[in-house]
Amino acid sequence: MSTVNSHEHHYAHHFKNADHEFVTSKQGIWLFMVTEILMFGGLFVAFFIYHAMYPEMFAEGAKQLDWRMGFTNTLVLIFSSFTMALGIHYIQKGDARKATWNLSATILCGAIFMVIKYFEYTHKFHLGFFPGKYLDVARVGAEHANLGLYFGFYYCMTGLHGIHVLTGMSLIVWVLFRHLRGDFNPHYYTPVEGVGIFWHIVDLVWIFLFPLLYLVG
């Protein structure tokens, strides 16, 4: 795949010009985001249905969660979303140094989020709140026999979200590396925009996940 070199940046040979490639790539990114929404959405639909079927059990499960950790995580992710948007903003403006700081800040916030998640998980394992059938109802003193179902949802949703945070972080590291190598300029920043939108989707999912899991009472 030979690439046509113009002075600002390069674009693939099967496109008419750089904007044509950018617009097509943006559409490709949005199509991928629809699949992410649909995948997480499937989990949310299942959660709503079971929440309506077993409201008290879900309430009992939600009480076990520590809203403080959830709340800080929400703030951390919103801040990381903000720094990500700033990162794109500065690359578009051509201010490489500020963009580097913002991208690194986003990665740092992602790491903080995962560390808080790690403490939450170990705390629950310590108390015996394992998913599904592994939850020892007697030891935990749960009123409802199928409390394991709530924690099954908890671990599936936050686990899948966690995997997406890690993927997002590694993508941003890759984009940061290319940025430091000088690949991006105000006329070519498609990968940054793509990774940015993916990171915002991860934040979007957590915005819904937080009230759903922690505040359902």
């Binding site: 790539s25 629809v34 649909l38």
Partner: protein, 528 residues
Amino acid sequence: MANHDSNLNYINEFKGIKSWLFSLDHKRIGILYMISVMFFFLLGGIAALGIRLELFSVGPTLMTADTYNQFMTYHGAIMVFMVIVPGIPAILGNFFLPLHIGAKDVAFPRLNLLSWYMLMLGAAMAIATLFIHRLDTGWTFYTPYSIKTSGSTALMVVAVFIMGMSSVLTGLNFIATVHKLRCEGMTMYRIPLFVWALYSTAILQVLATPVLAITLLLLAMERILGVGIFDPALGGDPVLFQHFFWFYSHPAVYIMILPAMGVVSELITTFSRKTIFGYTAIAYSSLGIAAVSFFVWGHHMYVSGQSETAGIVFSFLTMLVGVPTAIKMFNWVSTLYRGSISFQSPMLFALGFLFLFMIGGVTGIMLATLAIDVHFHDTYFVVAHFHYVMVGGTLMALMGGFYYWIPKMFGKMYNEGLARLTFVLIFIGFNVTFFPQFILGAMGMPRRYFDYIPAYESLNRISTVGSWLIGAGFLISLYVIIDCLVRGKKAPENPWGSKTLEWTVASPPPHHNFHHDPVVSAGPYEYR
């Protein structure tokens, strides 16, 4: 840019296995898909012949019940996820979509290659389960049986997740290509109907597959972490698994049939040398089918414990999806009216498609009717119906598409006589195999039965004999393709006199498709 030397084309321009395995050319990736899908079809076919041999007579014929259940599972899983979902879109779609709309390549070539590697990775993992711990859950993985049974279900389910990912990326690629890479003058009403069909299929691939992804992930979590979402022991509802599964799997059957309809539109117009009748009707019915297909999944669950109200809603909506399909049939037959029809093998397969898809269609309406489905659900009537639309529909169209486009793909003509023989064998073998199954279903023989009561034996015997004919037909067509590659005569640029863009370039086409970007000023079927 490569020079315009006449005998340089996408096959001989770059040499060596690496140039194929890392090629970003949509034509080469189409050939990679062709080879892999034909291999998987061989595997699935062997499993099918195994099933039919076992059902030749009452009582265990050559395998135990468990082995039969494994054969049944692998026949279903391989055929659905590795042959018929990637099939036409990945092979013929990858090769001809850019050529049909005058583009140099698909929108995201690297993503296209990634899709092929994901299909290979998923297929390798799925076939690995054959050697680790064979599955016997059926390709539908219904819970709680798929949770309780031994067998590497988690590995198979992750394999299907990865193959689904490949399907999503192909769909995404095709939507972006059709939206953004059409050549000058190629408005949405001048693209060939094959492209309309691939476009509707791509919408289904992108919007339906993610729900299968989450359903299979939850099934894997069910087996590994025992989360209990679909396990009644913990309050989960197995019928909800069926809702999530069929929310993907019914659009999936339209992912299978829509590209076939696109191929048939191309074949019927070319071989009756007449413009398509009702272009907009066929284009919109492709989109209509894609849209309505998301509303009808519950007709797989009339007797599954689903409420009567939901059954009524689904039956009503399923009747609506029948209408665009009927429109297409009428439009194809009207295209034949006052045409100049030739009987070369691609046209024979297209006419075979019309015949078999008609029977598949009307039996589909029977199954959509609430009262009738209560008797026919999960019997051989359903098995016959979906084989009529999948083998009779998609595979006949795939064979017709192969014979129609092999001269363009490889620049060599195939042996026409042998090709017609394969049509006769497959067509007759198919009817002998599956028509008796309609009667077996009416008599109440349940599906996925390792053994049956003696009353069903004679019809099962006829069906098994028919399956040998199909097997022979497909083996001979494999020979025809190989013989064509090895000894085929040089194919002219436009052997069939077709009007679509891919016949304006050399056979096989150059690496960059068009020497100078085409400008289109009229529709794709300008037969005057």
